[in-house]
């Protein structure tokens, strides 16, 4: 959110001269298009924008953005981006990562960047597979998945990325997918406007190694009944004419019901700004597998001071209290004596 963002840009200003090298048909293209289209709308400028990525197919993203960018090492993007954002609270810093990068090798950095509420927009491209290393199961792959490294099916229980990040004190948590540019741009805009750490899970299709991983949810034929579109302040309803809805049972569990079967007052009203994360957490876990109705949109969006500003504020306070640093005085601060 740079203050000097006055120059008008076009999508072309955000495109680098590098040839995009994802597999034809890869879901990553849709995300790149959405981001490049969104940037001019946000009124920001390329020179104040930084993309940092780790390793994986999605992590090639910075090369294709005509901004400042760093393609770093596996899993470390949130840590490196923290360095950028803490040093320079004036910049917009985006992190592009994947399910293996962010949730496996880099899990520690992800959760700590979120709890610190570093001003980072973290886009996790979840394709439930390792693409760049050619098809091993990932920490979001379903149990039983047969891959090159699990010929008899995976016995690893997967992460639910959103419940993980909500448990990590994330202040902004959202989900979108690669087949609906408009939805994605809406979510990314909200992520951008949130000050602090924003986490967006993007269902992304790897058509080479895990084609159709989300087809049963976001496929054109089924999405009407399978996607739950969360809208702040509105009762949670979905399906044709909103015939389905979400209620909280007496045991505190969220359940999907036929709206006709319950009183309209019983429908859960989505409150993304609720300080307590329990409802967002419950919404994140309403889906138990890839064949059930799944919420999309902004799960959680609460205010908390961002880390870079808190660190900078301490510097300002110290200067106000002690004046500008005086090196000669520092060297004498433990007492001195003079000889000769």
């Amino acid at each position: 959110m740079s203050e000097t963002a006055v120059r008008v840009t076009t999508k072309k200003d955000w495109m680098s001269d590098q040839e995009v090298r994802w597999c034809p048909g890869c879901g990553d293209y849709g995300v790149l298009q959405a981001v490049q289209q969104l940037m001019p709308e946000l009124g920001v400028v390329p020179e104040r924008t930084v993309f940092v990525s780790g390793i994986g197919c999605s992590s090639r993203f910075p090369y294709y953005m005509n901004t400042y960018g760093m393609h770093s090492i596996h899993g470390r993007a949130p840590a490196i981006a923290t360095g950028v954002a803490v040093a320079r609270p004036d910049l917009d810093v985006w992190v592009v990562t994947g399910d293996g990068d962010a949730l496996s090798i880099g899990g520690n950095h992800l959760i700590h960047a979120l709890r610190r509420n570093v001003n980072l927009k973290i886009l996790l491209f979840n394709n439930r597979i390792y693409g760049l290393t050619k098809g091993q199961y990932s920490p979001t792959s379903e149990v039983g998945k047969v891959t090159k490294s699990t010929p008899f099916g995976s016995v690893d229980h997967p992460f639910n990325p959103l419940s993980l990040v909500i448990g990590s004190e994330a202040t902004f948590v959202a989900r979108t997918h690669d087949l609906d540019r408009k939805h994605m741009m809406g979510v990314l805009r909200a992520a951008y406007e949130h000050r602090g750490a924003s986490f967006v899970e993007i269902f992304q299709n790897c058509n080479v190694f895990n084609d159709g991983a989300f087809e049963d949810i976001i496929g054109k034929q089924v999405r009407g009944e399978m996607m739950i579109d969360l809208k702040h302040g509105e009762p949670i309803r979905f399906g044709a004419d909103g015939h389905k809805g979400v209620v909280m049972g007496g045991d505190g569990q969220l359940r999907i019901v036929e709206v006709a079967d319950v009183s309209p007052d019983d429908l859960l009203v989505h409150d993304a700004h609720r300080a307590d994360p329990a409802l967002a957490f419950a919404l994140a876990r309403i889906t138990h597998d890839e064949h059930q109705a799944t919420p999309f949109g902004v799960f959680r969006d609460v205010k908390r001071d961002d880390y870079g500003h808190l660190v900078a504020a301490q510097l300002v306070q110290a200067s106000e209290r002690k004046g500008p640093g005086d090196l000669a005085a520092l060297l004498r601060s433990n007492g001195t004596w003079t000889i000769g």
């Binding site: 020179e47 393609h71 090492i73 803490v86 110290a318 640093g325 433990n334 007492g335 001195t336 000769g340």
Partner: protein, 622 residues
């Protein structure tokens, strides 16, 4: 102790130096006692060198040899370089301390024990079968038994201090006694106690300190006090500084001298944490400190800050360097300035976390995958940590490269008087950011090429986010020189590997030539690096005083080496390389220069003693 003036019984006797060792249980406050004695001696004007020696456990089982915490200090009226081979005086607060340290004393040395702590149970905990105070085993020392606990309780009881609490003041009794014995001024200690403590604890500590002092004066256990006169050090304003404090201040200074904001990413680790503690106090210098979630993140944050135009540092010890290795390789590939400070300790793995070692030279030199050369600078005395980190920062900034600075536990915790530099004379290490496109595309469009190098230094331009028109992407994938675009072609990869090496090698033109100390025409040369400086310095001096010719070269730049090093070394028929490792530098110089250097190696978690090195140098004459 050299007696420099005749004296009558009861009069102060002047000695030129003394080595005092305070030893007690981890909870006995020996480090504080040592620190105070150091501080007052520094203010008094002595030259000094200290060696805190403490266990890894915060509170090892009380009364055991494993739980002994010691502090050795060498004070003198002349220039010294080590904390002393052997103490003249040992203050042992319990049998375990006596057992652990008495063998270090000079023959005939003075042992002052807290006799209250020599009950059967105390002896048992220290695994003494007989009471050493009565079984004659200490016959080679002068032993003075003082019931310090009882005496402390006696003076604090009238203040209303409970007997159990009085225990905690007995180290000030010991400090008072030693302050009398070595005629230290009492005011600074009293002022410090008054400032540091409150209420009853303050009163109790003050009473104990005074009681210890008066005890020395009034009992007949000591003939007379000693005096170590102020040292005739070069004129100047001095402060007493530890290596880690000097290092933290050096980082602050480097920020000022480069006119860049500083960001330190660090994860707590012994013996480096004090640098994080110290730096986190100096935010008004524009210093940001982040205690990261792990060692890898700490390096990553420093690197991210460097990309954003800050001076990035990460401080750690050996295990942390291992974890940061991949980030350092990325930094080599990105060609961004970054300083990693390794305060070495005994290893491998957790090893001896509180004890010193200098065995990470190989790790610094080779500890990255593939061909990933980077400059290495080593500090050699506590105060030199200040200059060394400025030099490491200068190289990092000028050559856009990660640099490793090696210090060690001995330098980090040891302290010495430091003749403060005039800050106006410190080097300007500022660099400039790229502000404009540096290339023109065939169609005439101005472009920015992130890897278009300075022809002299081979450094690439540093364009920071926020600069219009210079947007660019860098990454760990091999890139084409100049454009920085991804390039996997075979010839380009070899070119880039050789360019990165040439850039580091070229730094040899920008560092001082190695200098020979002592006799340039000697046959024997001692080659050293790092904290062995103190012991080598006094050993070389002792051997030369005995009439033999010895040369000494001490390295502060370990990669690249000074340009003349090979020629210098080939000029001696014997080269010995003392190191607190298995012979790492020795192997490198043998390989680089084909000279028959001999390794002198010590790996005990302790520094060299001068006498050990004298012995090793002497061997070269036989």
């Amino acid at each position: 102790m050299t007696i420099t003036s005749p004296q009558a019984k009861g009069e102060t006797e002047a000695v030129s130096y003394v080595v005092v060792r305070f030893a007690g249980d981890s909870g006995d406050g020996m480090q504080v006692t040592g620190d105070r004695f150091t501080s007052v001696s520094a203010l008094f004007g002595n030259d000094l060198s200290t060696f805190p020696d403490y266990p890894a456990e915060i509170r090892a089982p009380a009364g055991t040899v494993n739980g002994v915490s010691s502090f050795q200090i060498h004070i003198s009226d002349h220039d010294i370089t080590t904390p002393g081979d052997a103490p003249n005086v040992l203050i042992a607060m319990n049998p375990a301390a006596l057992k652990a340290d008495v063998h270090l004393l000079i023959p005939g040395g003075l042992v002052i024990v807290n006799s209250d702590n020599f009950e059967a149970r105390d002896l048992e905990k220290a695994e003494y079968e007989a009471n050493p105070l009565t079984d004659g085993s200490l016959r080679n020392y002068r032993v003075v038994e003082i019931p310090m606990t009882t005496l402390t309780q006696r003076v604090t009881e009238p203040l209303g201090v409970k007997a159990r609490d009085a225990e905690r003041s007995k180290n000030f009794f010991a400090l008072g006694l030693i302050s009398w014995l070595y005629t230290r001024p009492t005011e600074p200690t009293i002022a410090w106690i008054e400032k540091r403590f409150k209420d009853l604890v303050k009163d109790s500590n003050l009473a104990a300190f005074r009681a210890g002092y008066n005890f020395g004066e009034t009992t007949e256990l000591f003939d007379h006090p000693y005096e170590v006169r102020p040292a005739k050090l070069p004129a100047g304003e001095y402060t007493n500084v530890s290596g880690n404090t000097a290092l933290a201040w050096g980082i602050v200074a480097a920020g000022q001298l480069s006119k860049l904001p500083v960001l330190l990413g660090s994860y707590p680790i012994t013996p480096a944490s004090d640098v994080l503690h110290e730096l986190s106090k100096h935010k008004h210098f524009g210093v940001r400190t982040v205690q990261a979630e792990d060692e890898i993140a700490a390096a990553g944050m420093a690197l991210g800050a460097a990309f954003a135009g800050h001076l990035g540092y990460t401080t750690t010890s050996g295990p942390g360097v291992a974890l940061k290795s991949e980030t350092m390789s990325l930094a080599v590939s990105l060609e961004l300035p970054l300083v990693l400070v390794d305060i070495q300790r005994g290893g491998p793995s957790t090893g001896l976390p509180t004890k010193t070692e200098a065995a990470d030279l190989n790790l610094a030199m080779y500890g990255r995958h593939s061909e990933a050369p980077l400059p290495i600078v080593a500090a050699y005395r506590p105060s030199h940590c200040f200059d060394a980190v400025i030099e490491a920062s200068r190289i990092a900034l000028k050559y856009r490269t990660p640099v490793i600075l090696l210090s060690d536990g001995y330098l980090a915790n040891g302290s010495e008087p430091w003749n403060l530099p005039d800050v106006a004379t410190l080097p300007d290490i500022s660099t400039s950011f790229a502000t404009e496109p540096n290339h023109t595309a065939p169609d005439g469009t101005p472009e920015f090429w992130p890897y278009l190098r300075d022809p002299e230094t081979l450094a690439r331009p540093w364009a920071i986010p926020g600069t219009p028109l210079l947007m660019h992407r860098i990454g760990g994938i091999e890139k084409e020189d100049g454009t920085g675009n991804i390039d996997y072609t075979p010839a380009n990869h070899e070119k880039m590997v050789r360019l990165r090496q040439a850039k580091i090698d070229g730094i040899a033109r920008d560092i001082p030539l190695a200098e020979v100390v002592g006799d340039a025409d000697a046959h024997v040369c001692v080659l050293g690096w790092g904290s062995t400086w103190g012991a080598i310095s006094s050993a070389v001096e002792l051997v030369r005083e005995s009439g033999k010719k010895v040369a000494w070269i001490h390295l502060t730049h370990l990669n690249p080496f000074p340009a003349n090093l090979g020629d210098l070394l080939r000029g001696f028929s014997r080269v010995i390389v003392p190191e607190l490792n298995g012979g790492q530098l020795c192997r490198i110089v043998r390989a680089n220069y084909l000279i028959d250097a001999r390794s002198v190696s010590k790996i005990q978690g302790r520094p060299f003693m001068s006498a050990e090195l004298v012995n090793e140098i002497e061997k070269e004459f036989s």
